[in-house]
Amino acid sequence: MTRHHPDSLSLMEYSAGNLSDPHALCIRLHLERCPQCRSRVDTLDSLGAVMMDHQPKVSVADTSFDQLMARIDNTPEPSPEAVARPKVDPLMKLLGQDINDLPWKRQLADVSVLDISDKFPGQNERVVLQKLVSGGKAPAHTHRGDETTIVLQGAFSDQNGVFNQWDFVVLNEEDEHRPVAVGCEDCITLSVLSAPLKLTGTFTRLLNPFLR
């Protein structure tokens, strides 16, 4: 179980570029607001550079550099704006609108969900947004497999504490919890699931996962 920050191993897989797009998105959103984890990733990127230097080198083709210069000379320089890249909010870019305005599907009195897996074509994981209305309670449940969640808005609490905006949580089948949205905003989370969650309460019908 990982709480509030991604663990070093996940940050390493991010730095190495080995995560699926949905998992990379969760880490990326957390990094934007967490200088501490950003600094850990900087160190890990340095580790990547050192590993690259530590490995064998392979000579490039004799013509490689000339080919490169020819390409640079024959391609117009992109504008400085295009090079600098404006700061983007990857979530906004992915969804195209504010998370509060999405076509939420209400599942329980307090719980709405939206499956956004189709925004990641070619990926096997299930990616779900969940909304717990301010003050609302979700039914108790556990999870099958690892479920990675990041809080996008508001906050929720469970027996393990309070999870605020941009907090990061990884839960699995051993973690049963009953989240409650705290604060005056609806709590919206983004979760990447390797398997559907399992309800432990009295609910018998199949319920889409409430990701913390």
Binding site: R38, S46, V50, M52, Q55, V58
Partner: protein
């Protein structure tokens, strides 16, 4: 920390230069030669500096492609990475990252982008590779982090030489062969827990050394 104000007072008495002013100068002397070359490319489109960078880093990038299982695209990856280095060099700031670290992140992003384009079906994802893999805040003024970044590559390099080979092997597979911890476990035929503990031991070692030097 406790001695800071005292030290300041002492320094001011002896000479009119504060320790804070001295710091960038000290850091300047530690500049890595590749960073100096990269800045020349960024400021003056210096082709000789660019060629030196190419001679040093292109063979690394080529091996990176081969070890990542895209040997047939290795020359192409080298080209893409170096075009990107040329275009982005004006954004490089030696105070924020060692040149090798900056180049590693470009190679990683280009590798991800290349694989993504190869696997692309009719449906496209709205976010681009850099939206997910470029560390946000890179262009912000973060003085504390900058100093940390400046030194981290050197520390990592030094501490890596003290790591046992079995830890380096695992890290190399993660970074150079884009294998998950699970895939590394399968390949080496050792439990996942063993892979994770080797990585944790290595990362602890790196961090411990960082902490020691920050004191």
């Amino acid at each position: 920390m406790m001695t800071t104000s005292h030290a300041n007072t002492m320094t001011v008495k002896e000479r009119p230069v504060s320790p804070l002013d001295k710091q960038p100068e000290k850091a300047e002397k530690r500049r890595d030669p590749w960073g100096v070359l990269l800045e020349k490319v960024g400021k003056n489109q210096d082709r000789e500096a660019y060629r030196q960078l190419f001679e040093h880093f292109a063979p690394q990038v080529k091996y990176y492609a081969i070890s990542n299982g895209i040997a047939n695209l290795a020359e192409e990856l080298v080209q893409e990475v170096f075009v990107s280095i040329w275009r982005r060099s004006c954004l490089y700031d030696w105070r924020k990252a060692a040149a090798s670290t900056w180049i590693f992140t470009i190679a990683r992003n280009q590798r991800i982008d290349m694989l993504r384009k190869m696997q692309r079906t009719s449906a496209e994802m709205a976010v681009e590779t850099e939206d997910l893999w470029q560390i946000p805040g890179e262009n912000e003024d973060e003085p504390v982090t900058s100093l940390h970044r400046l030194m981290s590559e050197r520390r990592v390099r030094e501490s890596l030489s003290h790591l046992p080979e079995e830890q380096i092997t695992v890290i190399a597979k993660v970074y150079m062969e884009h294998k998950s911890h699970q895939m590394v476990a399968d390949e080496l035929d050792i439990p996942l827990g063993t892979v994770k503990s080797r990585v944790r031991l290595a990362l602890n070692k790196l961090r411990v050394i960082l902490q020691d030097q920050n004191v």
